[in-house]
């Protein structure tokens, strides 16, 4: 392998962003050097990977554990390749290790190839189409829902997630409720039979405009409710005039 060539790679892509893991990195190192996977020099490849890793580590401390584990494994393989195999029958030989590595690379390469082939195929909704206006048979009533397994387990995931952060603080509302307004109006018209301006019901001691608006809205809503129930009548003589209320004479 030429040192020049190696430097070129490093300059081109001194980052792990483009790689889907250490085997992928090994694969592209092999490809960049036009190394035939079947006549692979494992030693060369291992050296390249380790050098690449060394440079990367200097730039990027957050290097994924996977790259380091592979690095350690390759360093071990390299030492095995350089030293004669020991006679211990128990330990894996460098040949076996190299074979495994080759297998992994070929397998990943195979998967990358077929994933491309797969997406090059004719695809539903792009090259061929399904029935655009499906009809559903009444016998098969259960088809009226199209909930998928994904919906089901996703929903469950969300329930569990929410359950574990359920502390919602609802602050006191400063707004005037329709229920309160109903009580005020009812009490007042128990003893009065005259027309009365809606605005007269708005409390005078409100803190801000928002409270005023909400009091007006809730009193108006309450008066409509009482009109609907037949207890009050309501009147506005012309556009923009005041709204007047009076108990309905039964």
């Amino acid at each position: 392998m030429s040192e020049l060539n190696y430097n070129k790679i490093v300059v081109l892509s001194l980052s792990l962003d483009g790689f889907e893991g250490p085997i992928d990195l090994l694969l592209s190192l092999a490809r960049d050097h036009k190394i035939d996977l079947t006549k692979l020099s494992i030693l060369t490849l291992a050296e390249q990977y380790l050098k690449f890793l060394e440079k990367i580590i200097k730039k990027d401390i957050d290097i994924a554990a996977e790259y380091l584990v592979m690095g350690a494994w390759l360093a071990f393989l390299k030492s095995k390749l350089l030293l004669p195999d020991d006679k211990d029958e128990e330990s894996i030989t460098s040949e076996e290790m190299s074979e495994l590595l080759e297998f992994q690379m070929k397998r990943l390469e195979g998967m990358q190839k077929v994933s491309k082939l797969l997406f090059q195929r004719y695809k539903l909704g792009t090259h061929f189409f399904k029935r655009g206006n499906p009809e559903i048979f009444g016998i098969n009533q259960k088809n009226q829902y199209n909930t998928s397994l994904y919906d089901l387990i996703k929903t469950y995931g969300e329930i569990i997630t929410n359950k574990n952060n359920k502390s919602i603080i609802i602050s006191d509302t400063q707004l005037y409720s329709v229920e309160d307004a109903l009580i005020i109006l009812k009490n007042f018209f128990k003893n009065s039979k005259d027309w009365k301006d809606l605005l007269d019901f708005i409390p005078k001691n409100l803190r801000n405009n928002l409270e005023r608006k909400s009091a007006l809205a809730s009193h108006f809503a309450a008066s409509l409710e009482l009109v609907k129930e037949g207890d009050l009548q309501i009147r506005q003589d012309n556009y923009n005039a005041n709204i007047l209320l009076q108990p309905k004479i039964k």
């Binding site: 189409f129 399904k130 029935r131 655009g132 206006n133 009809e135 559903i136 048979f137 009444g138 016998i139 259960k142 088809n143 009226q144 829902y145 199209n146 909930t147 998928s148 397994l149 919906d151 089901l152 387990i153 996703k154 929903t155 469950y156 995931g157 329930i159 569990i160 997630t161 359950k163 574990n164 952060n165 359920k166």
Partner: protein, 198 residues
């Protein structure tokens, strides 16, 4: 010789055009206007011949070519539709409440109504269990031997069928959900017990 080739070519073209019209009408979600078809075929005579052919071809099929107001659509033929009771139903997703309830029953069965309410944090409206019962996705299980002997709920075989599961333990567990990104790891604090329950 040349003539024959041309003729063959013409014929091939006609067959292809007919296929295109057939495929267009099939895959369209609305009836296809004549003008829309003409845009592809260009020649009125050819298009008319194609449409006639298709009408004939489908006349004795389970699906017929209907002409409605100068638009074209395939519809199930009447002799079959009577027999099959065809309705126009637009499939809709289950309501959020029903999906949640179903998911909880699936993962925690047998489970009582109040236990479901506890997990969801809202009370269960009457319709929710009804929908699931009607779909035959859930069924009553044993009564629990706690005060009041509340009824428990379980999923049915139809539920497994519908979601294409061999049995209930094939549902992805909490760990699987976490790993496949369905649970936000950071937000959730698991205690060992709740994970055990799964």
């Amino acid at each position: 010789m040349k003539k024959l080739k041309e003729k063959n070519n013409e014929n091939y073209n006609f067959v292809l055009k007919q296929k295109v019209v057939e495929a267009l009408i099939f895959s369209s979600s609305d009836p296809v206007p004549y003008d829309e078809l003409l845009k592809r075929i260009l020649d009125k005579n050819i298009l008319n011949e194609i449409l006639e052919n298709l009408e004939k071809k489908y006349a004795s099929s389970g699906v017929n070519l209907y002409v409605i107001n100068n638009t074209y659509a395939f519809r199930t033929s009447l002799d079959v539709s009577e027999f099959l009771n065809i309705e126009k139903i637009v499939p809709k997703p289950l309501s959020r409440a029903a999906t949640e309830t179903l998911a909880i029953i699936a993962y925690h069965q047998p489970i009582t109504r109040s236990e479901i309410e506890n997990i969801r944090g809202v009370s269960l409206s009457k319709g929710t269990l009804d929908i699931l019962l009607e779909l035959e996705w859930i069924r009553p299980g044993h009564r629990k031997s706690t005060p009041g002997n509340p009824l428990t709920w379980k999923t049915t075989n139809l539920f497994l069928d519908y979601f294409n599961l061999k049995n209930i333990s094939d549902l992805p567990g909490i760990e699987d959900l976490k790993n496949s990104g369905l649970l936000d790891k950071n937000k959730v604090i698991f205690n060992d017990q709740s994970a055990e329950e799964m």
